[in-house]
Amino acid sequence: MSAVMAAPQVAAAPPTRRNTELAMLAFACLLTVGAQSIVDLTVTGSLTVEVATFGASFTAIWAVAHLVVRKLAPYADPLLLPAVALLSGLGLVIIHRLDLAEQMDAALDGDPMPGAQAPTQLVWALVGLVLFVAVLAVIRDHRTLARYAYTLMFVGLVLLAIPAVLPASLSEVNGAKLWILVGGFSIQPGEFAKVALICFFAAYLVDKRDVLSLASRRFLGLDFPRGRDLGPVILAWAVSLMVLIFERDLGSSLLIFGIFMVMLYVATERFSWVLIGLLMFMGGAYLAYQAFGHVRTRVDVWLDPFAYRDDAGFQIVQSLFGLGTGGLFGTGLGGGRPATVPFAKTDFIAAAIGEELGLFGLVALIVLFLLIVERGLRTALVVRDSFGKLLAAGLAFTLAWQVFVVLGGVTKLIPLTGLTTPFVSYGGSSLVANFALVALLVRISDAARRPAVVMAPKTDLFDAPTQIVKRTQDE
């Protein structure tokens, strides 16, 4: 410390750890390219130049991301980017592996050859990078977001509502109305709505937290809010129910409500809100169970998937078969039959990972997510402003909650809901929106770790140039 102090021109700033990030990113890229090579060698028996192109493009994306962070958010948490890079790399490798499996199956059955989706996903990663850079470049201070709270709410709600009002032909895929289908492109606006709504929640709750946490009635040893302050909660609850009813999307509905309740709890520090939320959730869940056949089916299948192994439970049973076959070490990349599970590239990509990389691979995946989430929550602890705290906590918890809901569904811990595994699953909207989410986390973590006030370097009176002293006296 004293050495630093002694150097006259250097500020006492904490290390930026950008080089640590660079080294870990290099490791993530190496791992990804290695895994891709193993897939090709195992499945096709040869390495083509495509592996090199893939490796170069993937590495380039993260090199750019790293340079942008170095320039625009030098104090950002160094673990976020490498963890995300590894997750997306793993996703791309598994999608590529499933492409090959589908092509082999098609060749076996004499069906037309399906197109490869891994290259498309790589393009989406590039789009994600552009948004990542844009977010960091445009939002130089996360607090500016709070000023656009109501605009973001409006944008979020509109994005959520679009698929519901569009005709089914333009919005429905596999029974869930949560898409915008235009000209061969499919966009899931809910993924973007999620990020916008979290920003709004953060701004709104910071603004209203005093009212929500102070005005209260005491009941059964807990401080309960006044009736009129329940408005926002009821609104969030209603919106998620509407998503469930009009878009038949159990996953997003659960996601939005869960995020809102947790952010409300963080803002008000009052557990009674969580209690109210849980009660409302149970009420909503009961209503949904009674009212909707597809919700009932999901629960019944969850309770005993093997009783429905040929119809409604086929997917989850195949997923469990895949996981069981994978066992502790997995079949090895390219050694399993992950394409047996329907929707292996999207909702069930974790089953493919568990089958080919085994329990070790699946747990590594979970721990990578845990790492991002806990770093996000740590950012929330350290950052100084309330809005930043709430936003960081909300973004981090969103990731955690989504991962829990989708992985829990795939492994039969909870009933199955259709959600993507962030960064890993095939799907442009999910990938791009989550890149934006990470950009925001990076931005806040930069603010959190940046030295609070840049103080003028202390200089010893002995060393001080006399002219300057003189000039000061002149003024």
Binding site: L320, F321, G324, L328, G336, L359, K389, L413
Partner: protein, 485 residues
């Protein structure tokens, strides 16, 4: 706001711990049962990339894997087509394996623990892993004779070596071609399965083991065994009325075709069995008491439970007998009395083997891929329901059936044959099921058989076990004795 954020961090940790614990449960604790679940096609598909062991009968493969150049590397072939289908089963991409292909799958696919050492050496030497061969106890001549004799009818035949329990023949008709279910073309497999589904009776069903039928008078051997064990002799005179009034009901029981068993309405036990007198055996069961015969049946394994040999065998049973009228019908092997053809053969083999019933077995040897014996069948006693004396008396009585009674069509030149016929009425206007059980030579039994033909075969007149099933039994017994040196 830091306190709630910390609590959220802990909550997330808990949630993720749950995920990890749950993954452990699935991928470690439940892994084996999930991996081997019949609905898990992964293992099946993986197996196609290894050379599956052969199923062998008398040195010749009856199921074998040959290399192909399509994506599934090995194709399962059954050179004899439908002949051995009830034993081998099929090995289907769509329906999975069946019969021996299923029960011995671990050995055939090479994953059985007995092949562990070889698997490890394969790993180091780079030799392609191969499954073990399963050698069946079947006698090709007897199997062919049984299969040929049953052509054109719905039926089943089983031949056993009474001294060991080895299954020498196990035929079921109509049969199917396992090659067509085991091809690599899903569409062709489905077409053939649809064709089999549309058949009047399912050709995939192994009638020798997977279904049971009313045995008719074959069951009288069990009643006779109970009587002999209780001190009766073949010469003991028993009542044999023309019409038996069944106590406690208005029902009566008559003899076959309304005929009379004996002018004096009384005859010896041996005569009653020889001409298969219904009223005599009904009265005999009443005199012995319901429980006594039920106990004897249970001694033969006819107790409502199945067993494995290693193919699963459907239960054989006496059924509920709630009245004297029901007992009357049961005494002639109808009502709820049911035998699998295999179990009927077991009754004959027990009598042939001095009262010792040997457990039937289909797999005589397991060979490693290098043809070294990994395991050999070890004959085991299934039960000992009757004494050697009772067995000898029963043999005498059953020889009389073939010499002078209903089973004369089973006679073989130069030796005594023991047998019993059965004709079970199923329904009004439908031909009865016909049965024959027997063994030969009576003094030194080498083969015991049971022949079942559903609905009296193809004969126009009302067929009996003696006319339809006994000649088939003789053919099979001759085939066994003609082929053994």
């Amino acid at each position: 706001m830091n306190a709630p954020v910390r609590k959220i961090a802990i909550a997330v940790l808990v949630l993720f711990t749950l995920l990890i614990l749950n993954a452990n449960v699935i991928q470690v604790i439940q892994a084996d049962s999930l991996r081997t679940d019949s609905g898990n096609t992964r293992v099946l598909i993986d197996e196609y990339s290894r050379q599956r062991g052969s199923i062998v009968v008398d040195g010749q493969p009856v199921a074998t894997s040959v290399q192909t150049d399509d994506a599934l590397q090995y194709l399962r072939q059954y050179p004899a087509g439908p002949l051995y289908a009830p034993a081998t089963g099929y090995y289907s991409l769509i329906f999975g394996p069946s019969a021996i292909e299923r029960t011995e799958n671990d050995l055939l696919s090479g994953s059985d623990d007995r092949l562990l050492v070889r698997r490890i050496t394969d790993l180091f030497t780079g030799r392609d892993p191969k499954g073990a061969n399963v050698v069946l106890s079947l006698n090709p001549a007897a199997q062919q004779a049984a299969f040929d004799a049953l052509q054109g009818v719905t039926g089943a035949a089983v031949a056993l070596d009474p001294n060991t329990g080895a299954i020498l023949a196990m035929a079921s008709t109509p049969s199917y071609d396992p090659n067509l279910l085991s091809s690599h073309e899903p569409a062709a497999i489905r077409d053939y399965a649809a064709q089999l589904d549309a058949a009047e009776v399912d050709p995939r069903l192994n009638r020798a083991t997977q279904d049971n039928f009313p045995p008719g008078s074959v069951f009288k051997t069990v009643i006779a065994a109970a009587a002999l064990s209780d001190g009766y002799t073949p010469e003991t005179l028993i009542p044999a009325p023309d019409v038996l009034e069944l106590p406690g009901s208005s029902a009566t029981l008559q003899n076959f075709g309304g005929s009379s068993c004996s002018g004096s309405e009384e005859q010896s036990l041996i005569d009653a069995l020889t001409i298969s007198c219904n009223t005599a055996f009904a009265q005999l069961w009443i005199d012995l008491g319901e429980e006594r015969v039920r106990e004897m049946a249970a001694g033969f394994g006819i107790d409502g439970t199945g067993f494995e040999m290693p193919l699963p065998v459907a239960p054989s049973q006496v059924g509920d007998i709630e009245s004297e009228a029901a007992l009357g019908q049961s005494s002639i092997g109808q009502r709820d009395v049911r035998l699998t053809p295999l179990h009927a053969a077991m009754i004959a083999s027990c009598i042939a083997n001095d009262g010792q019933l040997m457990s039937p077995y289909l797999v005589s040897e397991i060979q490693g891929p290098d043809l070294s014996a990994l395991d050999e069948a070890d004959p085991e006693v299934f039960s000992e329901p009757i004494s050697a004396d009772v067995a000898n008396d029963l043999t005498t009585m059953m020889v009389s059936v073939v010499d002078d009674g209903s089973g004369q069509a089973a006679q073989i030149d130069g030796m005594d044959v023991a047998g019993k016929t059965g004709t079970a009425e199923v329904a009004e206007g439908v031909n009865p099921h016909t049965w024959f059980i027997g063994f030969a030579p009576a003094d030194d039994p080498q083969v015991a058989v049971a022949v079942f033909v559903a609905n009296g075969g193809s004969s126009e007149s009302e067929a009996t076990g003696g006319e339809v099933s006994a000649p088939i039994g003789r053919t099979i017994m001759e085939a066994v004795m003609g082929s053994t040196p």
